[in-house]
């Protein structure tokens, strides 16, 4: 089992440690609701060093990244960031990821549980003039998220980070530490993600806690709820090797008119015959959980892939694959909770709209 460079800090601060994707990670510190609301109202910090970072170098790096991902990195200006995914030839999703276009290389930030799989896949499919390097063990990553993140982080950097726009990054200095800083996150709130050498882990952590008043350490449980409220997919729950990007609602990142990429033909075919869709739903009564069945008129039409209680909206929310045409927003379905059925309403888009809760 692996530890992130902040392991001792989590223990010191009372994090409840669990195994996640081969790492010891804090599931929570003081309480999930407190952590979620801190991010919605103020600012919280997440250790996301378990995430994988794969560096793609070489003359043909852009063409190659375009070949292995479904979004189009050739449209990116330098330092821009792009949400994307890698698919198998059959259209199944290998992983979802962030693509950073940096000066001399592309950085692919992938899910912790998939780092080895992704790295192997990329190496096996490498062609043209490219280099592939797994940097994961050397990079520490922190996410500082919340409406006050910018205000508190700003004085700690050499450049004005308020000039970094959404899904953009910059090479910065944080005290003496080089950091790749991007305005990204997985919470549906404003915030930044910081990438830096693991040897500066403790000094960076300590400085952030010293300089940011009431910075809330947040665990995986809060992160999972925040991303669900923002309706972001979680690999392993809502997307996996058996789901394609179209049914998962990821058409917006699937650039079927770009040149050849792995999975293109299969996705084009799948698009012609979509039988189910990932849908978001909310419940006035009851809390949906992963694995619960979804019914329409006494027939099973789907399964919940993510679910839980939203502390921000104060109701049960979930995602699940629902057979076409019952997936449409405004439709009502029934969620089977043990031996009873509770109604759920399918909604369009995110459950939580940024900035709509307190703070600001």
């Amino acid at each position: 089992m692996k530890k992130t460079p902040f392991y001792e800090k989590h223990i010191e601060m009372g994090g409840r440690m669990v195994e996640f994707a081969g790492f010891y990670m804090p599931i929570q510190y003081k309480g999930v609701v407190k952590e979620v609301l801190s991010v919605r109202e103020r600012v919280g910090i997440f250790d996301v060093s378990h995430m994988g970072e794969i560096k793609i170098t070489g003359k043909d790096r852009e063409k190659f990244v375009s070949y292995i991902t479904i979004n189009d990195p050739t449209t990116l200006k330098e330092f821009r960031v792009q949400y994307s995914a890698m698919c198998y030839k059959n259209g199944g999703i290998i992983d979802d990821l962030l693509v950073y276009k940096l000066l001399d290389y592309f950085l692919l930030v992938v899910n912790a549980a998939n780092t080895e799989k992704d790295y192997k896949w990329i190496v096996e499919n490498a062609k043209w003039d490219v280099g592939v390097e797994n940097m994961s063990e050397r990079i520490a990553q922190l996410a500082v998220q919340g409406p006050k993140a910018e205000r508190f982080l700003k004085p700690l950097f050499d450049i004005d980070i308020s000039s970094i726009t959404y899904y953009e990054s910059a090479m910065t200095k944080f005290g003496g530490t080089d950091m790749l800083t991007s305005r990204t996150g997985y919470t549906g709130e404003d915030g930044f993600e910081l990438y830096f050498d693991t040897k500066h882990a403790f000094s960076a952590w300590d400085r952030l806690f010293k300089e940011i008043p009431d910075l809330e350490p947040c665990g995986l449980a809060a992160r999972d709820i925040l991303r669900l409220e923002a309706r972001y997919c979680l690999y392993g729950n809502d997307i996996n090797e058996l789901t394609n990007p179209i049914e998962a609602g990821l058409s917006w990142i699937t650039k079927l008119d770009k040149e050849d990429f792995i999975g293109k033909d299969a996705i084009l075919r799948a698009k012609e015959n979509i039988t189910r869709r990932l849908a978001g739903f909310e419940m006035e009564k009851g809390i949906p959980r992963r694995g619960f069945e979804i019914y329409k008129n006494d027939n099973k039409v789907g399964t919940v892939t993510s679910g839980g209680y939203s502390p921000t909206l104060k109701k049960g929310i979930g995602l699940g694959y629902i057979d076409v045409p019952y997936h449409k927003s405004g439709e009502t379905v029934d969620i089977r909770i043990k031996d009873r059925f509770e109604p759920a309403t399918i909604i369009k888009g995110a459950f939580y709209i940024r900035g709509s809760y307190g703070g600001g």
């Binding site: 929570q28 309480g31 999930v32 609701v33 449980a221 709820i225 809390i287 209680y309 502390p311």
Partner: protein, 127 residues
């Protein structure tokens, strides 16, 4: 460290029981509430229902997961803590007092001997 209350009986599944004559007051332990964290709903069975030891008498919904509460003893449900149904956070804040879940009329007092006392329960948690 989790609080263990003297004078209560405990189950392997982290319920506590307070015996008052032929009535058993039932709740979840301090350890259970801390493990579950942020309880947002309590759904007990109804007054008048008769349950066998080990059957589900309530479901506790936390933000992250749902957990069943099992009857530590057989009997008839005679009272529900409506305050805790309305304010489920009482299970977190006061698991042994205001956060009790329901009362049973004990059907068979012989079953009581199968429960742990505070000392045995403490051992389970290495105290």
């Amino acid at each position: 460290m989790v609080e263990v209350r003297e004078g209560l009986k405990y189950t392997e599944n982290e319920e506590w029981v307070k015996i008052e004559g032929d009535i058993a007051v039932i709740g979840i332990t301090d350890y259970a509430q801390e493990e579950l964290s942020d309880i947002v709903a309590l759904e007990p069975k109804k007054v008048g229902e008769v349950v066998k030891k080990g059957e589900t008498v309530a479901t506790v919904e936390a933000v992250k997961a749902a957990s069943d509460v099992y009857a530590p003893l057989s009997g008839e449900i005679i009272e529900i803590n409506e305050n805790a149904v309305l304010s489920p956070e009482l299970l977190n804040q006061s698991p042994y007092d205001e956060g009790w879940i329901l009362k049973l009329r004990i059907e068979n007092t012989d079953e009581i001997s199968s429960l742990m006392d505070a000392q045995e329960y403490r051992k389970k948690h290495g105290q």
